[in-house]
């Protein structure tokens, strides 16, 4: 074990840190909660990702031929850490970068890689994900959106739901049913759909936070070229699982939890209860420490997985817990913050008197949404037990 970075890595970190200090966008992108259907926001967000890419800080481990730098995961992790440290805004092209990209690199045709990967990096094309349907949530494989082969094309009909970013995305990676006769996991294909194609309607879903963000997407005879199929016909389920693995890791990010904990701690220090900071309240201290320990454990757990990745070890059961643990931890952090605020937790994020810039009321709700999204905690536990511990399936 050696937790030291090399001098090259340390130098790289300083360079990245310096870059962020100089190039952080000053406005319009910093809050997580800003309306994402705002055109100005979108333009700014694209510019920000492009600037980051030009600086060499996006998807550093991707192959050079598709616009990456083929660097080791440590560099990527240094960039991630520094982004968190700088409180840099999330990347608008995140779904393409984190989910579709790695999937295409493994499963896509050469043509698909060349066509799509570079524009994912530069945010020229923004992607959304078309998995869930109204009748297919936890039981994703029961999806019904139908793609029929007509000549050189698929004709797609059906509906997706919980599609974040659909309102501004250029493309969707999507699961469709191509063989309704086959057993449910065998008749699904993975395809790439142009969101500007005729026949697509996007209807925003309003979250309990009051924000838009998720959408329903309707397909009415949408034509999709056959070359937009990823992997083989009817073999989309395997590809989807690979993507889902990336999603689950994205949702349970350890550095995000660390950032939230630091924010919670600062909040607790700033709140006086009976004249003393809440951090000096013996009961709340215990709660804070319990949370910090869980955050720290996840941090080491992430570094361990990074090491396994560098060593070329296949992920085991330890990788299956990231989504479950990370999202529940984030919701617990937010719940503790709400409790810390006392009656200030009654305020919505846009009240003048709200604490900590209104971060927590939104985070408290949204974090619960992430416990649900991307496979609920119940589904995650099934996966851990059945795939990780080989306990017998019950369905």
């Amino acid at each position: 074990m050696d937790l030291q970075f090399t001098s090259e890595e340390e130098a790289f970190r300083l360079k990245v840190r310096g870059w962020f200090a100089e190039n952080m966008p000053t406005s319009g992108l910093s809050a997580d909660s800003e309306g994402r259907d705002d055109k100005t926001w979108l333009a700014r967000a694209k510019v920000w990702q492009r600037r980051l890419y030009d600086a060499g800080y996006v998807a550093l481990a991707w192959p050079k031929e598709y616009g990456g730098q083929a660097l080791d995961p440590v560099r990527q992790s240094i960039v991630n850490d520094e982004m968190v440290r700088a409180k840099a805004p999330y990347l608008v092209g995140g779904l393409g970068l984190m989910m579709l990209g790695p999937t295409l690199i493994s499963w896509g045709s050469e043509e698909q890689k060349q066509r799509y990967l570079p524009k994912i990096l530069t945010a020229e094309e923004i992607w959304c994900q078309g998995y869930s349907e109204p009748g297919a949530g936890s039981d994703l494989a029961s999806l019904k959106t139908r793609a029929e082969i007509v000549g050189d094309e698929f004709v797609v009909n059906g509906q997706k739901v919980w599609t974040s970013g659909a309102q501004y995305a250029d493309m969707m990676f999507c699961l469709v049913r191509t063989d309704p006769e086959a057993p449910k996991h065998r008749g699904i294909s993975y395809m790439l759909i142009d969101m500007h194609a005729p026949g697509i309607t996007v209807r925003p879903l309003v979250q309990m936070t009051g924000d838009r963000g998720f959408n329903e997407v309707f397909f009415d005879n949408v034509h999709v070229p056959r070359k937009n199929l990823v992997a083989k016909l009817n073999e989309g389920w395997i590809v989807a699982n690979a993507t889902l693995f990336h999603e689950r890791n994205m949702l349970g990010s350890a550095s995000g939890s660390e950032q939230r904990f630091n924010r919670l701690l600062a909040l607790a220090k700033s709140i006086k209860r009976g004249g003393r900071p809440l951090t000096e309240d013996p009961v709340f201290r215990q709660r804070l420490v319990e949370l910090e320990i869980r955050v720290e454990a996840m941090r080491y757990h992430a570094i361990r997985q990074l090491t396994d990745q560098i060593r070329g070890k296949n992920p085991g059961v330890e990788a299956m817990i990231n989504k479950l643990v990370g999202t529940e931890l984030n919701h617990d952090l937010a719940s503790a913050a709400m409790e810390a605020m006392g009656d200030y937790s009654m305020l919505s994020r846009d009240d003048e008197a709200v604490l900590d810039h209104g971060y927590w009321p939104y985070e408290w709700m949204f974090s619960l949404g992430l416990v649900i999204g991307g496979g609920t905690s119940h589904i995650q536990k099934n996966i851990i037990a059945e795939r990780g511990l080989k306990m017998p399936k019950s369905r």
Partner: protein, 368 residues
Amino acid sequence: MDFGLSEEQQQLKESARAFLSGECPTTFVRKIMATDDGYPRELYAQIAKLGWSGLVVPEKFGGAGLGMLDMAMILEEGGYAAMPGPFLFSSVLAASVLKLGGSEQLNSKWLTALAEGKAIGTVAVVERAGSIDPVDIAAVATKDGAGWRLNGTKMFVPYANVADFIVVAAKSDAGEIFLFVVDAKAPGVTIRLLKNLDLTRRVSSVELKGAPAERLGGGTDLFAKLIDVAAVAVAADSLGGTERALEMAVEYSKVREQFGKPIGSFQALKHAAAEIVADLEPARAMLWYAAYAQDTGAADASRTAAMAKARLCDIYSRGTDRAVLMHGGIGFTWEHDMHLWFKRARFNESCFGSPAYHRERVAILGAY
């Protein structure tokens, strides 16, 4: 020896359920959530006719002269319906402290108006510290002839935006806490509506600059009584809210299918629901006792109130968290009603003291 609801209480509860399911369905709640003041005047006119506004007001001031256990029936149903508006704060809290500490003259004015549904009252305890702890109260009352003048800023005052009078906790020169009645329209009173997370509720800041006030009798004891009544009332609302969240999740689990069967047939959902029931039923009995203890002035009335508040608010928060999860994605949407109770649970948890605060009170009162 009889520990259960009387027939009248059962009927009161059933009629409240029937009335609110007809007049205050979630479509109606949402309409009121979208208004500025969050106060459904017409509904409240009906409530006054039903006698709820004056339920705990003595008969000589036009009320029904009933007690907290009776009132708990209505509060529970109000929580079940996520009923918006100042009922809990006006007809329960303001009414209770006036009844106990108001002069004949004051009560002839305000209590009578309250009972008739012609006035709304509220109570103002919390300040910028965001806590009900007496040490965190800084508002000052100064004697001024026969009356008093108040200075200070109260925060999170429920429905001050529509109140006719406000019961304010403030300290005398000697540092003792008293309750004072202030006319909401009096000079020196500035009310600013805050923006609420739980839109079935409204809270405001109330700035007092030499506002004229009348002192209620009872001093610190009356303040303590206010906290007790508030604890029981919020606990009753939480009981009803938890019931509703459970009911919604269970019903949904019977109709929503995944993997070819209703999701309610999965053990994880069954156990989540069963755990809510296991929390809820003993807490219901405790709430009954806490209300009964208020009515009978039992020696453990304060302690039991604190217990009920701590327990039911914990159960409500945990229960709604689980109920959202049991719904899956749909439970996270604005369109689905689940979030009404999810947010109201959060409001109740902090309102009049957190569970941890009340647990510490239980320890102190129990001489641990």
